[in-house]
């Protein structure tokens, strides 16, 4: 369904060849194409608009049209701007404290439990940590079992309190338990929740206040569409999270949500999930993500 953006731009530039440099008038059609491509890639409508306005500012006056392949040059401008916006200095996950506490948050089914396992496994094997996984999802059927199965797979113990319906209390007890048992890392899995679910948002805010995590992560499905901005903003307003985890990138989604989220909350994307297995995680590469959004 998608036409490669550079082909698309090449076409719109053909019409303009020989007009010299980029002007307000001759670039309008091209910018429309770029905006469409971004929306096709699930970049939020408003974010795409703002983005193309900024690209226009960058492109105006540039001697693009006399270049051999003006479309490609324009794509490069767009690509670099995308990578710049999504990148910046990479911030490591904060695990200096003892115990370091990491809290997961996000919508239902985004991949929190799976990612909790992956992160524990990675920090255990690569950074020599002794993690404790904490099952604070007291709602989803078999959520505790799920975390326990993953814990077993990676050789990390899971703290759970069967029957306790107070997530805040479980989290607090877990931190106590970690301190007593020499766990220098505590990863707290939580239930999925909608940003508009007041009671559930209060719950996770209370968990955060009670255990004072060193790192709060917002886990988001990379297939998410236009709503990504609302959710990210709402979770950030409530939790002031430290970083974003983008899951299911082993699929073929263009992943425009990455740009949308970066734009509305300006928090770094720290990890990406690339599969269901416990070793399927990677750090975030803005250049690759820019390629992906542009379908390159």
């Amino acid at each position: 369904m998608f036409e490669n953006l550079s082909e698309r731009l090449e076409r719109s530039f053909k019409i303009l060849k020989g007009q010299g440099s980029i002007t307000e008038i001759n670039v309008a059609e091209t910018l429309k194409d770029i905006r469409k491509a971004l929306i096709d890639a699930d970049v939020n409508y408003k974010v795409a608009k703002t983005f193309t306005d900024e690209v226009k500012e960058k492109a105006l006056g540039q001697d693009v049209l006399t270049s051999l392949q003006p479309g490609q040059l324009m794509v490069k401008i767009v690509h670099d701007e995308l990578a710049r916006l999504m990148g910046g200095t990479t911030v490591d996950v904060n695990i200096k404290a003892n115990p370091a506490i990491i809290l997961m948050s996000g919508l239902q089914g985004s991949g929190k439990t799976t990612f909790s396992g992956k992160l524990a496994s990675m920090l255990k094997s690569k950074r020599g940590k002794n993690p404790l996984l904490v099952a604070c999802d007291i709602y989803r059927p078999a959520a505790i079992d799920q975390l326990k199965v993953l814990g077993e797979q990676i050789g990390v113990p899971v703290y759970a309190e069967i029957g306790n319906k107070d997530a805040v209390e479980i989290a607090k007890n877990a931190v106590k338990f970690a301190k007593q048992n020499n766990h220098d890392l505590v990863i707290v899995d939580t239930a999925g929740r909608l940003a508009i679910d007041e009671q559930m948002m209060k719950e996770i805010a209370a968990v955060k206040a009670a255990i004072q995590p060193h790192e709060t992560l917002f886990v988001v499905d990379s297939m998410t569409g236009q709503d990504a901005v609302n959710t990210a903003k709402e979770f950030n307003d409530r939790l002031d999270f430290d970083g974003v985890v983008l899951t299911k990138l082993d699929g073929d989604t263009r992943g425009g949500a990455a740009l949308s989220i970066r734009t509305v909350v300006t928090k770094p994307i720290k990890f990406v999930g690339t599969g269901e297995k416990m070793d399927a995680l990677d750090t975030f590469h803005p250049e690759r993500m820019a390629d992906r959004i542009l379908g390159m």
């Binding site: 096709d40 409508y45 089914g109 989803r140 059927p141 079992d145 297939m223 569409g225 699929g251 073929d252």
Partner: protein, 282 residues
Amino acid sequence: AGKSKVDDEVLDNLEEVLVTSDVGIETTLRIIKRIEERVSRDKYMGTSELNAILKEEVAALLAQNNTGEMLDFSNPSDKKPYVIMVVGVNGVGKTTTIGKLAYQFKKAGKSVYLGAADTFRAAAVEQLVIWGERVGVPVVKQQMGSDPASVAFDTLSSAKANDADVIIIDTAGRLHNKVNLMNELTKIKNVMQKVIPDAPHEVLLVLDGSTGQNAFEQARQFTKATEVTALAITKLDGTAKGGVVIGISDQFKIPVHYIGLGEGMEDLQVFAKDEFVESLFK
């Protein structure tokens, strides 16, 4: 008199509403074109008439035979047992939707069997078993890691032997670009036919209502592997609108049967076209 041309401002606004509901740029431009054509032909008086035209044109893209009245939990079909296979990418809400459907069928007086053919994801079987207990319907299962086709076979055999009315088979979430996993689905489907020749009678593709344009590719690939017959859109209790389903329904001619509106047993509704379209403009 009446107007035969829609103001640019109105069209821009419409574009924004549709795109931010995940309708997608292509479908949005098609809808706008249809409205412009219709208006130049029929003319309209005032905003309320224009709004009505607009909603009609959007609704027209949603595939037919999906009006609420035609879906009846007390009489899903003349097939007995009626076999539903549930498919979709990871985490969209397949297992939960199965729990909710089982509840509806049971409430309508049907005897239901569930098959735990997700033998891969951690605690997937336990999750379905808990739903089975909640609703009060049997769940056929095997060990984790066993062959999902074999679980489906067992489920159909025992449901048939027990004269069940409805069978719902859960499957593991899988991304549609993974060829082996998609082939596995085809195999599960084929194995069912050894027990009930025309099974599955319904292949229900579950789409997460917050998914963007990738849902198109999901519909395309799952249809290739399993001939999807119906869609369920979940998580519409959130702020996402699920507009991508409009283009999907139109292009693949697959009706939407159900929407998910929460995590509880009762949070499932039969899809109502007009309400859905209405919700896009709220």
